[in-house]
């Protein structure tokens, strides 16, 4: 094949490759959008990224939200509105902010009373702004960026904790765990993905960990997706830190943990903040060895709540994993239903006021009664978890803990 003549010149090859790649990027995202359930009632927009890069999380969020809607409808609908059923208007944000805004337009024309969802911070930022133009109430399900609720948008409410609260709790809990064990951990390596989430967290950790007595040996960024963590693990191995703090998404988190196991790297602890896999039942089920003793500080349900355990069982009986996307969306729908009962109207202004004054206490989340200040629920807080006995246990704060931290990890 050494003397072949190519009908394509190299330039054409490169040009078509680039064009094709661009077309592939847009093409694969061109999926249908608003699906509408039949019947009259209170229309509620459920907006999740169910296709594209975030589709797993988006689909989990949709499952949680629709479950709550079904339960409310089965229980007699919204009583203050004469038992009106909730009519979910499902939307797909296609894993992009633009996809999210387009759905807001459609949902607004469909005259929804409120929108719940978003998942990714970038999508929540765009959606909240688009919904604000129509004074359409919007409840954020997961998005943690602090800026979502600091821009003075009257329509935007976040039931779950933001990044600042989570990071502070994570660092306090880490210090507590280390102190209780007699301060075995002094050195840290941070492995983070290089977009807004991982880099932001790494920056914060670099500022906050040294004053608490930890020395950061190295901060290692990596892209998403990363195919191979062998070199990252080599670096960790060479410097032998007491603690490894990963801040990345599910696939990379799992690859990193697996490679560490493969290379026999066992630090005294692996501790994550909003870790991609560390509080995922799927990870624990698939790789019990690699997951054992990993700690995380993340959205978590109240393990002492009977209602939460009941919901977990219901989900697991269906063969699905009880992830935070699921119960945060479930809770957000209950929050909106409670506001609808009190507003006794689908009027947007009345519903917004009802949300502002909400004292709803989720039976699932460890938050206590809701109190919104500038749209942020003040009671919202994360939980520190650890993988113990092939399960994920809450270890801090003490009032919700169902296990004691095992730290340092046994060799």
């Amino acid at each position: 094949m050494s003397e072949q003549k190519l009908p394509f010149s190299r330039r054409q090859f490169l040009a078509t490759t680039a064009l094709g790649a661009a077309a592939a990027a847009t093409g694969s995202l061109a999926m249908p959008a608003v699906l509408r359930a039949q019947g009259a009632g209170v229309k509620l927009g459920l907006l999740h990224p169910v296709t594209g890069a975030l589709s797993y999380s988006g689909q989990q969020g949709r499952v949680g939200a629709t479950m709550a809607v079904d339960e409310i409808n089965a229980g007699g609908g919204i009583k203050a509105l004469g038992g009106a059923k909730i009519d979910p208007v499902l939307g797909d944000a296609q894993s992009t902010p633009d996809g999210g805004t387009a759905e807001v337009e459609k949902m607004n024309s469909a005259e929804v009373a409120c929108i719940v969802g978003g998942y990714a911070s970038s999508i929540c930022l765009a959606v909240s702004q688009a919904a604000a133009r129509y004074d359409l109430p919007y409840v954020v399900d997961v998005g943690v960026a602090d800026s979502i609720v600091t821009r003075g948008l009257k329509n935007t409410f976040r039931f779950s904790p933001g990044f600042g609260v989570i990071a502070k709790a994570a660092l306090d809990n880490l210090t507590t765990i280390n102190d209780q064990a007699g301060k075995p951990a002094k050195t840290v390596i941070i492995v983070h993905e290089d977009s807004l989430f991982g880099s932001g967290l790494a920056k914060l950790l670099n500022a906050q960990l040294p004053p608490k007595g930890f020395e950061i040996l190295e901060t290692i960024p990596h892209p998403t997706p990363t195919r191979d963590f062998a070199n990252v693990v080599l670096k960790i191995k060479a410097q032998n830190p007491d603690l490894v703090i990963p801040a990345n998404y599910y696939n990379e988190y799992v690859l990193l943990a697996r490679t560490m196991q493969e290379q026999h790297v066992r630090p005294k602890g692996i501790y994550s903040v909003l870790g991609g896999a560390s509080s995922s039942y799927k990870f624990v089920k698939d790789f019990p060895e690699a997951a054992r003793y990993i700690m995380d500080c993340n959205h978590w349900f109240n393990p002492k709540s009977a209602k939460a355990q009941e919901l977990r069982k219901k989900i697991e009986d269906k063969g699905q994993f009880f992830t935070y996307e699921l119960y945060l969306n479930y809770s957000a729908i209950l929050l909106v239903a409670d506001a609808l009962e009190r507003a006794a109207s689908i009027d947007r202004a009345k519903l917004t006021t009802a949300l502002e004054n909400s004292t709803f206490a989720s039976p699932i989340m460890p938050y206590g009664p809701t109190k919104f200040v500038n749209g942020q629920n003040q009671g919202a807080a994360p939980v520190s978890t650890q993988v113990l006995d092939n399960d994920i246990k809450a270890i801090l704060p003490p009032e919700f803990a169902n296990a004691k931290a095992v730290f340092p990890m046994p060799a």
Partner: protein
């Protein structure tokens, strides 16, 4: 910390990763060399093959290395059928059409996978999945060493097919001079489909080698194919040894650049090489002059 032993580990890691790049690139370069089209469906086919390997293990209990012997022929047949009954007829003999059809196939396959299996990431946990060979200064994961050896085996097999069999000779004839081959009585449509089948079979083998340490999801294949495009250009379009050496080179460069400049910049190393090759040796390491 920069002892020479670490450097050796980094290079070894690069070679192990590079071997898989090489295998994915082999399929791509073969299809390019003969059909003169960029197969945009390559990544989607790799994702599909990862799912196939996953389900072969989960539903049938087949070890991925055993499954390779079943999936390679199955994907060969699938690739053959794709080219013979979809890409070929739909392109009406125009290369540009073929390009767009493979692009359409990529969108279709990816979304079909998403529809059928959801975006869930799936992994398998094999008894030997975490076994590693202790070299004293580094551990090499057993599945990755096996895949390294297997890639050379596949490349050799492919080279033998091309060099010795009648089909191989016909493939080379079509690649060099399509009209002449047709006049000599070679069924060009059949040879096109055979080549596409061989390229797809390479992807199936790559999937079986990857699944013990990697994961399957509807977009998993894309991570490899962008690199494979670079390998093809570096090694020379249509060249089998080029893809093999190119894959290894890219693997080592990525590994070294990632180690010294951070994983985020590891990719930059690849594309720097890519630009240097384009400037100094535009036909690639083993490519014919255009």
């Amino acid at each position: 910390m920069l002892s020479p032993l670490i450097l050796i580990s980094v290079v070894l890691n690069g070679l192990l990763t590079g071997a898989v790049y090489a295998l994915v690139a082999l399929g791509l370069t073969l299809i390019y060399g003969v059909l003169h089209i960029i197969n945009f469906a390559h990544g989607a086919l790799l994702s599909a093959a990862l799912f196939a390997a996953f389900f072969a293990y989960q539903k049938l209990g087949l070890d991925p290395y055993v499954a390779a012997f079943l999936l390679a022929p199955a994907f060969f047949a699938f690739g053959y059928a794709l080219q013979r009954f979809i890409i070929g007829p739909a392109s009406h003999g125009d290369d540009r059409n073929m390009l767009l059809i493979t692009l359409g196939l990529a969108v279709f396959i990816e979304n079909a996978l998403l529809y059928a299996f959801h975006a869930d990431t799936r992994t398998i946990d094999l008894a030997y999945g975490f076994k590693s060979i202790d070299f004293g200064f580094t551990f090499l994961a057993v599945p990755r060493v096996i895949s390294f050896a297997a890639v050379f085996f596949v490349a050799l097999a492919l080279w033998l097919i091309m060099a010795l069999t009648d089909t191989g000779k016909a493939i080379r004839a079509v690649a060099k001079e399509k009209l002449g081959a047709e006049l000599a009585g070679i069924d060009v449509a059949h040879i096109y489909a055979m080549t596409f089948g061989l390229g797809t079979a390479c992807v199936a083998v790559a999937a079986c080698l990857l699944i013990p340490t990697y994961y399957a999801n509807p977009r998993a294949g894309n991570a490899f194919v962008l690199v494979a495009f670079t390998v093809v250009v570096l090694g020379g379009m249509g060249s089998v040894p080029g893809a093999l050496i190119g894959g290894l080179v890219i693997g080592v460069v990525e590994s070294l650049a990632g180690f010294y400049f951070g994983e985020s910049l590891g990719q930059v190393g690849i594309f720097l090489i890519f630009i240097v090759v384009l400037l100094l040796r535009p036909r690639g390491l083993f490519g014919a002059s255009a």
